[in-house]
C-alpha cells in the first residue's frame, strides 16, 4: 500500500477491520467466561471497549514491524495477525498454545508476525520496543516498533528513559498510550499530573497527539502519520488514545470504578458500534453483512475454543525446557 492508501479506502479492507474488532470483543468475552468456569488459570485482562486502538494502530503496520504489548494485549495480538486458536490454547494452558502454556494470557507472543510479546510488568515493554527500533535502524530496515501501554505506565520511569533515548537517536518508535481512565483502581486524573499525556512528548522534542481512542478512523489516521514519520527517519512519536475500560481491571479484580455511571456513559461510545455507523454511512455495511461479520467472528472464536480444548494440557516435561537455548 502506498503512503496515502489506508484500509479505510476500500470496503473489503474496512470490513475486515470491523471483523477484527468483533473478533477481539468476542474472544475476550469468551476468555472471561472460560475464566469464570475455571478453564483459564491466572487471570485475564480484557480490553473490551478499547478495540479501536488495537485495530486502528495495527492496520497501518506490516508484519515486519515490531509490536510490544501488555497483559491487556489480546487485541493487539489479534490485530497484528495472530492465530486466534493458538492464542486461546495458550490462555487455556495447552501444548499448542503460542508459549506451550508457559506464558498464558500475560505473555502471549508471536515473533513471526512481529508480535514481540505482552508483558506483565507495567511499562517494561517500552525500552524493549526502543531496542527493537534501534535494531531496525542498525539493520537498515525501514520497519518501525510500536509499543502499547497504559496511562498508568506513562508515569513509569522507563517511559521517560525510553522517550529520551528514542528522541536523541531519532528512532522509528511509536509510543501508543491507551488512556482508559484507570490504572487498576486508581483514576488517571489522580495518578497522572496532566490531563493530556500526549503533552509529555514536548519534554523530548517529538510530536505527541491526543486522539479519541474509540474512533477507529481517527486512531488510524494519526498512526499513519506517526508511522510514516518514523519510517522516514524523522524519529519517534507519542499517540495518546483516550478510551475507557469497561470491565474490571482483570478477571481476578473486584469491580471498581470511582464513578460507576462513567461506564454506562462510555458504553455509548462503543468503538465497534461507532465504526459500524461509519461503515454504514460509507454504504459498506448493512444488517446482513453485519450479522455475517459477527457470525464469522463468533465462529472463529468457537473454533479457537474447540482447538484449544482438543489440545493436550501442557506436558509436564516442558516445564524444564526453554530456559536456555544452548546446551553447553
Amino acid at each position: 500500500m502506498t503512503t496515502t492508501e489506508t484500509p479505510l479506502d476500500a470496503a473489503a479492507s474496512a470490513l475486515s477491520l470491523y471483523e477484527q474488532m468483533w473478533l477481539i470483543r468476542l474472544f475476550e468475552e469468551q476468555a472471561l467466561d472460560l475464566f469464570r468456569r475455571g478453564l483459564i488459570r491466572g487471570t485475564v485482562h480484557p480490553s473490551i471497549g478499547q478495540e479501536a486502538i488495537a485495530v486502528g494502530v495495527c492496520s497501518v503496520l506490516r508484519s515486519s514491524d515490531g509490536v510490544l504489548s501488555t497483559y491487556r494485549g489480546h487485541g493487539h495480538c489479534i490485530a497484528k495477525g495472530a492465530d486466534v486458536r493458538r492464542m486461546m490454547a495458550e490462555l487455556m494452558a495447552r501444548r499448542d498454545g503460542y508459549c506451550k502454556g508457559k506464558g498464558g494470557s500475560m505473555h502471549l507472543c508471536d515473533p513471526d508476525i512481529g508480535y514481540l510479546g505482552a508483558n506483565g510488568i507495567v511499562g517494561a515493554g517500552m525500552p524493549i520496543a526502543g531496542g527493537v527500533a534501534l535494531s531496525m535502524r542498525l539493520q537498515s530496515r525501514d520497519d518501525v516498533a510500536v509499543c502499547f501501554f497504559g496511562d498508568g505506565a506513562s508515569n513509569q520511569g522507563v517511559f521517560h528513559e525510553t522517550a529520551n533515548m528514542a528522541a536523541i537517536w531519532k528512532l522509528p518508535l511509536v509510543l501508543v498510550c491507551e488512556n482508559n481512565g484507570y490504572g487498576l483502581s486508581v483514576p488517571t486524573s489522580y495518578a497522572c499530573s496532566i490531563t493530556d499525556i500526549a503533552r509529555r512528548a514536548g519534554g523530548y522534542g517529538f510530536p505527541g497527539w491526543s486522539v479519541d481512542g474509540n474512533d477507529l478512523p481517527a486512531v488510524l489516521e494519526i498512526t499513519k502519520t506517526a508511522v510514516a514519520r518514523a519510517r522516514a527517519g524523522e524519529g519517534p512519536g507519542l499517540i495518546e488514545c483516550k478510551t475507557y475500560r469497561w470491565e474490571r481491571h482483570s478477571a481476578l479484580s473486584r469491580t471498581y470504578h470511582v464513578d460507576p455511571t462513567d461506564a454506562t456513559n462510555w458504553s455509548r461510545h462503543d468503538p465497534i458500534e461507532r465504526f459500524g455507523k461509519w461503515l454504514v454511512q460509507k454504504g459498506w455495511l448493512d444488517e446482513p453483512i453485519d450479522n455475517q461479520t459477527r457470525q464469522r467472528a463468533a465462529q472463529i472464536v468457537s473454533e479457537a475454543v474447540e482447538f484449544a480444548t482438543g489440545s493436550d494440557e501442557a506436558p509436564s516435561l516442558e516445564a524444564l525446557s526453554d530456559v536456555y537455548d544452548n546446551v553447553i
Partner: protein, 342 residues
C-alpha cells in the same frame, strides 16, 4: 495491656479471636496508625480499593487520603519516597503489589534504604516497612520468591510470617525497628485463618518458632511452606512413624541460627524447604550454616527441597513440576533418613 496481665497473673488467660492473615495485617496497620501519627501507608491501589489482597481495606476510609496514599505505578519512586519520608521522622509502610516488582526498586531498597545508616556513619535512620506478596499461579513475572536477594544485603530486616499470629506480632515489632524491614507475605496465606490473642503481643525478630517437635529430622520451612511441612510431618508420623521437627525462622534477618543448630544436634539431619529457586536460595545459606555450626552432628547432608531452577510457568501442569511438593518433601525426608519411602 500485657503489663496488666503480668501484674494480674491469676485472671483468665488472654482472650483469643480468629482472624485471617490479611485481617491480622489489617488490624496491625489500623492499630499502628491509631497509635502513631508518624505512620502512613503508601502503595498502588491501597486506598479506596483496599489493596489487591484487601490488606488495607477500610483504612483509607478511616484515616483519609493523607495517610493512606494511593500512588502512581512507579515502584522506584514509591520506595524512594518511603526512604526520604523515613529519614525525616515518618514511619512509612509501603506496599509493593507483587514482590517481583522489587526488581524495579532495588536501587532504592539496596543502595539507599539498606545503606543510608552505614554510609552516613549512623546519622541517618530509615524506618521504612515494605510489605509485599510472594505468590504462585500467575506466571513468571508475578510469583518469584526473591528473599535470598534481600538476605544478601546487610542493613535490611526481613520477615516472612507464616500465620496470622506471626503476621500481627512481627508487624508490631517491625514498627519499632529503626531500619528498613522487608515484610514478605505469601498470597496463598492471606485467606488462611488462625487465632491471635486479643491483647497486644509482639513477636520478636530473630526468634525461630518450633512449629512441631520431632527427633528424627529437622525441617526448616518458611512462609506458606510451614503449613505444608507441618502437614507432611503429621502424615509421616502417622504413616511411617517418622518424627519430624519443623522450624519456622520467621525472620531471615536477623536469623535465629541457634534454634536450628540445637535442633540439628538432636536430629542429626536437616532439610530446608522453600518456594524460591534452589540455586542461591536461602536453603543454600541455611544448609551451609548448619554445616559450619553443626558439622559433627550431621548424619546426612543438609538437603534442599526447593523450586526447580526455571522461571515459574503459567500452566498448572507445569507449575506443579517446578514448585516443590509435599511428595518432594517426603522423599527428601526419607532420603536423609536413608530409608526407602513407604
Amino acid at each position: 495491656m500485657s503489663m496488666t496481665m503480668l501484674s494480674e497473673p491469676n485472671i483468665v488467660p488472654s482472650a483469643k479471636k480468629e482472624l485471617t492473615f490479611a485481617q491480622a495485617l489489617n488490624e496491625s496497620l489500623r492499630e499502628a496508625m491509631t497509635r502513631d501519627p508518624s505512620v502512613f501507608l503508601m502503595g498502588e491501589d491501597i486506598g479506596p480499593y483496599g489493596g489487591l489482597f484487601r490488606v488495607t481495606e477500610g483504612l483509607y476510609q478511616e484515616f483519609g487520603s493523607q495517610r493512606v496514599l494511593d500512588t502512581p505505578i512507579t515502584e522506584q519512586a514509591i520506595i524512594g519516597f518511603g526512604v526520604g519520608a523515613a529519614m525525616v521522622g515518618s514511619r512509612p509502610i509501603v506496599e509493593l503489589q507483587f514482590s517481583d516488582f522489587m526488581a524495579l526498586a532495588m536501587d532504592q531498597i539496596v543502595n539507599q534504604a539498606a545503606k543510608a545508616r552505614y554510609m552516613s556513619g549512623g546519622q541517618l535512620s530509615v524506618p521504612l516497612i515494605i510489605r509485599t506478596p510472594v505468590g504462585t499461579g500467575l506466571g513468571s513475572q508475578h510469583t518469584q520468591s526473591l528473599e535470598a536477594w534481600l538476605m544478601h544485603v546487610p542493613g535490611l530486616h526481613i520477615a516472612m510470617p507464616a500465620t496470622p499470629y506471626d503476621a500481627m506480632g512481627l508487624l508490631r515489632t517491625a514498627l519499632e525497628l529503626n531500619d528498613p524491614v522487608l515484610f514478605l507475605e505469601h498470597s496463598m496465606l492471606y485467606s488462611t485463618r488462625g487465632e491471635v490473642p486479643v491483647d497486644p503481643y509482639k513477636v520478636p525478630f530473630g526468634e525461630a518458632r518450633i512449629v512441631r517437635q520431632g527427633s528424627d529430622v529437622t525441617v526448616i520451612a518458611v512462609s506458606s511452606g510451614v503449613t505444608v511441612a507441618a502437614k507432611v510431618a503429621d502424615e509421616l508420623a502417622a504413616e511411617q512413624g517418622v518424627s519430624v521437627e519443623v522450624i519456622d525462622p520467621r525472620t531471615l534477618a536477623p536469623f535465629d541460627m541457634a534454634t536450628i543448630v540445637a535442633s540439628v544436634q538432636k536430629t542429626n539431619r536437616a532439610i530446608v524447604f522453600h518456594q524460591a529457586c534452589r540455586t542461591c536460595g536461602i536453603g543454600a545459606e541455611i544448609g551451609q550454616r548448619i554445616m559450619e555450626e553443626a558439622f559433627d552432628y550431621l548424619d546426612a547432608p543438609v538437603t534442599r527441597v526447593a523450586a526447580r531452577d526455571v522461571p515459574n510457568p503459567q500452566a498448572k501442569s507445569l507449575e506443579m513440576v517446578v514448585l516443590p511438593s509435599e511428595q518432594d518433601l517426603k522423599r527428601a525426608i526419607n532420603s536423609v533418613l536413608y530409608r526407602s519411602p513407604a
